[in-house]
Amino acid sequence: MRCLYCHRRLEPELHLLNLFTAPGPLCGECEIRLKEWRRGERCGRCRRLMGEGESECRDCIFLKNRFPPVGKIMCMLDYNEEVKMLMHRYKFVRDIALAEVLAQFITVRKRDYDHFVPIPVSPGRFRDRGFNQIIEVLARARLPHSSLLETGKVKLQSELSRHERMNSANPFTFNKEYRDVRLRDTRILIVDDIYTTGITVHHAAEVLLHHEPAALDVLTFSKA
């Protein structure tokens, strides 16, 4: 067994408490480093690091004015240097083993939601990367996914300026294959990798809210 982040050999000590649990994919040191949150005042809703003298989160204010409201916004990890490196390796170097590492940090349970909806990747990106980075993590966390959304856009969110991002048209459409699936009064969880301004998940939510779910929450792996 190797730590999938630093590749150090894992020699789990056997004792009564871990005798029946499979060893995780991470060594203790990497786990601590990935879990660390940068210090500072944070927004109570999206956990954004607030600027000095900022009393209300400007991203959340913008979203509230622009989009229909979503429920909870949950986030597994901070976007610290280690997480940044992990995301780079996972998405751009295609070190897909790191999906196991991310899956370990998911605490949402299967019974909490009826639909786990991954943010889709465009067909072009899928060909380059070879996988959808959300689906791979959900699968390794033993959570089913419903691909309710599609996207055809080529431009990456990270390639857009803040202004472009704030004003771009909704890139997501409803996946017709799910036309006959009941969504009304169900509990939906939208899952994305990195929460930056929140626009992406709110665009996704906008499409899904037309189907009148009972609850619509958001889970992201990391808060930038």
């Binding site: 190797r2 590749h7 050999r9 170097v93 295609r94 070190d95 070879g130 996988f131």
Partner: protein, 414 residues
């Protein structure tokens, strides 16, 4: 040969042999260092190598493309902004000799101090003779620093730079990169210079040493620069070791003298601490100069204000615009007591210099060791005196004294 997707050699159908558990790029064959998954794109199982994932994925579905190694002589010159010391010159000659005679060499040198400049002449020799050179380190920060220094000196050379996500590639005649990047090269570099060899990360270090050997041509030379040589390194160098452990005049460093004093308390009462005053008096009557180190700027300025009885006192701090002028005036003897919160640049030396550290209990051992190394740097004045004024003896003070004693007995470098 080196792996490059733009090359014209199909080296292997796939980078990883998933049956044999072998990565053709880095030669990893440890089966715990592969990861297999079901690829939704290929609709089948794909295996890839974890050992060299840092330089891009080598897997069982992507062919390994290579380009032929070329060599080219170039007119190669560099600029050096200061003259090398005698010992640096000797080390530099040793590097040229190693390159010319295709030998390995271990440079056992003080961390930082002019180590990079020592290899300039060897690089010039190599490039002018059409040899491919790589300057590598396991550490990204060292790689960045090396590239900065080398591209600053070798202005006309096209230097490749490769680490993590960064790639500036020319023809790989003169390359600065992390050791990991060497996995992409086979039988390519005639000379590989490894800086901070001891900093290999814990995991996978045996593979990394293999990477150096794989990238080296059959007759090529490896030059290791390290502050802490191991038996393995000595063996690799085949006994060809050059040591810059002792300073060139070969005299011992002064062992710091400890004095218990509370400079701050005296200061708060508006007085200059009696012990500090007595030390300064003694230094002045002997016609010497002194650097007085303070743990903070505020304290330094306040104490400065209490030193009216002394002539030619000045204070410098790290952001001080006039620091170079003050250092020059100190050198000329215009200033004789220089208060400071910062260690002056390497290479700044004064004659007849003593050192006082105020509130030494605030200083970490590595800073103290550097401070002690400042004293007695001129051959005409081999040993100055070092005084530690402290509230109490600390672990760092003890470690400093231990280190200096070990240095004097020739057991270690600073």
């Amino acid at each position: 040969m080196y792996f490059d997707s733009k090359g014209d050699i199909l080296y292997k159908e796939a980078g990883v042999d998933s049956v044999k558990n072998l990565c053709h790029r880095c030669l990893n064959n440890d089966k715990t260092l592969f990861y297999e998954f079901h690829s939704p794109l290929h609709q089948k199982k794909v295996k890839y190598c974890l050992n060299c994932i840092g330089i891009g994925r080598s897997d069982s579905v992507t062919p390994l493309i290579a380009a032929r190694s070329m060599s080219r002589r170039e007119e190669c010159g560099y600029k050096l902004h200061f003259e090398l010391t005698e010992i640096q010159k000797a080390a530099s000659r040793k590097v040229v000799e190693a390159v010319r005679e295709e030998k390995n060499l271990l440079l056992h040198a003080v961390t930082g101090a002019g180590k990079t400049e020592i290899i300039f002449e060897g690089i010039k020799y190599a490039r002018e003779n059409g040899l491919n050179v790589a300057v590598v380190s396991p550490r990204i920060d060292v790689v960045k620093e090396l590239h900065l220094r080398l591209s600053g000196a070798f202005k006309k050379s096209r230097i490749d730079l490769m680490f993590a996500g960064v790639k500036v590639k020319f023809e790989h005649h003169f390359t600065v990169c992390t050791v990991h990047q060497l996995y992409n090269f086979t039988d390519h570099f005639d000379c590989i210079i490894v800086d901070e060899f001891d900093a290999f990360p814990l995991a996978g270090d045996t593979h990394l040493q293999g990477a150096v050997h794989k990238a080296l041509t059959a007759r090529g030379s490896i030059i290791i620069m390290t502050a802490t040589p191991t038996r393995k390194m000595l063996k690799l160098a085949g006994g060809n070791v050059f040591q810059i452990a002792r300073r060139y005049h070969g005299h011992d460093l002064a062992i710091p003298e400890i004095h218990y004093a509370n400079v701050r308390r005296a200061m708060e009462k508006g007085r200059l601490d009696a012990k500090l005053e007595r030390l300064l008096d003694g230094i002045m009557t002997h016609g010497r100069k002194v650097l007085v180190f303070f743990p903070e700027i505020k304290m330094m300025h306040e104490v400065h204000g209490l030193m009216g009885d002394f002539d030619s006192v000045e204070a410098v701090y790290s952001g001080d615009a006039a620091r170079y002028v003050k250092v020059q005036r100190m050198r000329e003897g215009d200033i004789r007591i220089l208060l400071t919160t910062t260690i002056l640049e390497r290479g700044v030396t004064f004659r007849d210099l003593d050192v006082i550290v105020v509130h030494t209990e605030y200083f970490p051992a590595d800073t103290l060791i550097q401070i002690c190394g400042r004293v007695g740097r001129k051959p005409q004045d081999p040993t100055g005196n070092v005084h530690f004024l402290t509230l109490y003896n600390t672990h760092h003070i003890r470690a400093t004294i231990r280190k200096i004693k070990a240095f004097n007995s020739g057991r270690t470098v600073l």
